[in-house]
């Protein structure tokens, strides 16, 4: 027992063993701490970065481009999603049967696609399709071909096609506006893409997204004052008239005379903005705004308004135009038919150049010039459309007798179509000249007084003779409505200087209903070559069809005196109301 106890007594152990254990433990601690130090301190940035790379993703939030719509909300330009198929060539080439299937779905020749991919085998990213619809892209992806992916993007579509093509314009491949309002309103339409950083788990689900983010800003939608129904009507009739008269082109503008809203602005030749190839034919020019021309006889009502407001003439005044021509210095002014001693209504209805020149000369250069200035012939229209043609109206101090005479019947100055529409809107709107605009809700510019209300209404009465029987534009008449207007048959300046014998612009501009006009319309056919070239024969019929349609669409009631005399049985009232968006007259 004693011996056993003695056995149990531990022998003193050498101190080295303790130290050895401590040493091993210490070494372990040092290694662990050292590794921790290395990871936590020395390699921290690198590792955090690597971790983020595997879990944190920056997602792009698309900022859509705004739509363009007409006044009734019909789309004129829309962005719609498309997909672009791309591939990693080396990966796809490894399974030839997939190359074949993908090529079939993309409507490509499999051999060509194979060669296309082989040529680019060392690349990591190759587009193998044009933009295609998401449904088609899904079909391609469903093949599960190796190395084939799809990238969503946006394409711009123009549902109205060529009908409103020049006004709306178009965007390039990168989505930037290149022409028309797409270009003018780029800042408003363009959306700004945002981004957000998220943490994703292994399955690719977003699990945390309260990291930094930048909100996307969608582009603003643009509402135009155009009415697509009238626009279509105008474009259809214009296209038909241009084809019928074998003309170089033409334009139609319809505006609301009291608000200055442009309801239709068609221009021919046109182009299809959905077709990239079609965009370079010259049809993309919006002739109503970018082209200027000499207004010719269409300025005569403006001249007469000035003559009346100066009190030098009365609506009943007579002008002696015998013998049908007038010599002013070296210039001889001709009438097509000698008219003799005529009143102002006949000066307009027969479009007498001699009468207009005599009136202009008796007013003097300064009075004619200031009359034109009042009607805005000297200042831009500020329509907000790119490439607007500036008017050319020289100062009266540079005018001699000849310039005064020619200016009186509309030569020696140049305007774009909107200038004429604006001036006639002033006559239509009781002397108040509105600001013409294309964008709904554009900052309202107060109308300018061009002439007194009395005189505007007197000139309108005089202009009704143009459309009446015996006037130059019987064909502009619209059954049921009183129409006031004026023809213009303008000789174009030829390339060699001077006026070309057989190149004309046929114009008709008018308003309806004449007693209280709501609409002003202008039709211009450029170089009709099928025989007729008088404004009353070429342009007036287009005016009549377009304006009749517009009046019906806008429910403008016909003049009272032409309503059927016999009372018809009472029917449910067809409401004949004002233009919904018309502002009260000021």
């Amino acid at each position: 027992m004693n011996g056993a106890r003695a056995n149990l007594v531990a022998k003193p152990v050498g101190a080295w063993r303790r130290w050895a254990v401590f040493g091993v433990l210490g070494l372990g601690v040092t290694v662990v701490l050292g590794r921790a130090f290395q990871l936590q301190v020395l390699q921290r940035d690198f590792l955090v970065q690597e971790g983020d790379k595997r879990h944190i993703r920056t997602l792009v939030i698309p900022g859509h481009r705004g739509d363009i719509r007409d006044r009734r909300g019909e789309p004129l330009a829309l962005s719609a999603p498309v997909e672009m198929i791309w591939a990693v060539p080396a990966a796809l080439l490894e399974s030839p049967q997939h190359v074949y299937a993908v090529a079939k779905l993309l409507n490509k020749n499999p051999r060509e696609l194979d060669k296309f991919l082989r040529d680019r085998e060392d690349r990591k990213f190759v587009y193998i399709s044009d933009p295609i619809s998401p449904a088609d892209a899904q079909r391609v992806l469903a093949l599960k071909a190796p190395g084939v992916f799809s990238e969503p993007s946006y394409a711009r579509y123009y549902p109205a096609g060529e009908v409103a093509a020049q006004v709306v314009g178009f965007c390039g491949r990168d989505g930037q506006g290149l022409e028309g309002l797409e270009r003018a309103q780029e800042a408003a339409l363009a959306g700004k893409a945002g981004s957000r950083r998220v943490i994703r788990d292994r399955a690719g689900r977003v699990v945390e997204d309260n990291l930094e983010s930048r909100d996307a800003q969608a582009g603003r939608d643009l509402a135009l004052t155009l009415d697509l129904r009238i626009q279509y009507l105008a474009y259809r009739e214009l296209k038909a008239a241009v084809a019928k008269n074998n003309a170089r082109g033409g334009l139609v503008v319809v505006a609301d005379s009291s608000t200055g809203e442009i309801l239709a602005m068609a221009s021919s030749p046109g182009f299809n903005p959905n077709n990239m190839e079609d965009r370079k034919g010259g049809g993309e020019r919006n002739r109503a705004i970018t082209d200027s021309f000499e207004p010719g006889s269409t300025v005569k009502p403006v001249l007469i308004a000035q003559a009346l407001s100066l009190g030098l003439y009365q609506p009943t005044s007579h002008v002696d135009t015998t013998p049908g021509f007038l010599k002013v210095g070296s210039l001889t002014v001709h009438d097509v038919h000698p008219q003799g001693d005529i009143d102002l209504a006949t000066v307009l209805s027969k479009s007498s150049n001699v009468g207009a020149a005599k009136i202009g000369l008796s007013l003097g250069a300064e009075a004619v010039w200031s009359g034109y200035q009042h009607f805005g012939f000297g200042e831009p229209v500020y329509s907000g459309f790119p490439g607007e043609a500036s008017p050319v109206l020289r100062h009266f101090s540079e005018w001699g007798q000849i310039a005064t005479a020619t200016a009186s019947y509309g030569y020696g100055l140049s305007l774009n179509a909107l200038h004429l529409v604006r001036a006639y809107s002033a006559l239509a709107n009781d002397g108040l000249m509105p600001h013409l605009h294309l964008l709904e809700g554009a900052s309202p510019v107060p109308p300018q007084r061009a002439v007194s209300a009395n005189i505007a209404s007197e000139v309108r009465q005089l202009m009704e003779g143009v459309v009446a029987k015996g006037g130059t534009a019987e064909r502009a008449a619209i059954p049921g409505y009183r129409v006031a207007g004026k023809t213009g048959t303008i000789r174009k300046i030829s390339g060699e200087g001077g006026y070309a014998e057989n190149k004309h612009q046929s114009v008709f501009i008018g308003m309806l209903p004449a007693e209280h006009p709501r609409l002003v319309g202008l039709v211009m056919i450029d170089e009709p070559a099928a025989g007729d070239y008088y404004g009353g024969l070429v342009a007036a019929p287009v005016f009549s069809t377009v304006m009749q349609g517009a009046a019906r669409l806008l429910r403008i009631p016909p003049g009272s005196e032409k309503l059927p005399a016999t009372p018809l049985p009472a029917l449910p009232s067809t409401q004949t109301v004002a233009l919904p968006l018309a502002e009260p007259r000021t």
Binding site: P159, G161, D201, V206, R236, P479, G480, P557
Partner: protein, 98 residues
Amino acid sequence: MRSLRSLVEGRGGLLLPLALALAVVVSALAVVRTKHENRALVNDLDRLRAERERLDMEWSQLQLEEATLSHHARVEKIAREQLGMTEPRDYAVVSSKP
């Protein structure tokens, strides 16, 4: 005397850490739960965003389709050719107003 103090101290010294440890465990579980819920909700949000994006796309495609189908040229062609319609050039507007 000494044993009493140690007892009190012992009890106090034991209760407080125990309670705190329990609280830590409970709050840790709560954190786990909240975090999980957060992730589930974020995931939902993301799914809904994708859904909204998809619906937006569908909407613009449908608008496009509608505009193409209701294009005036198409409607006119059908009205004139298939349905044999014309527009009357002369017509009377009957108004109940005097």
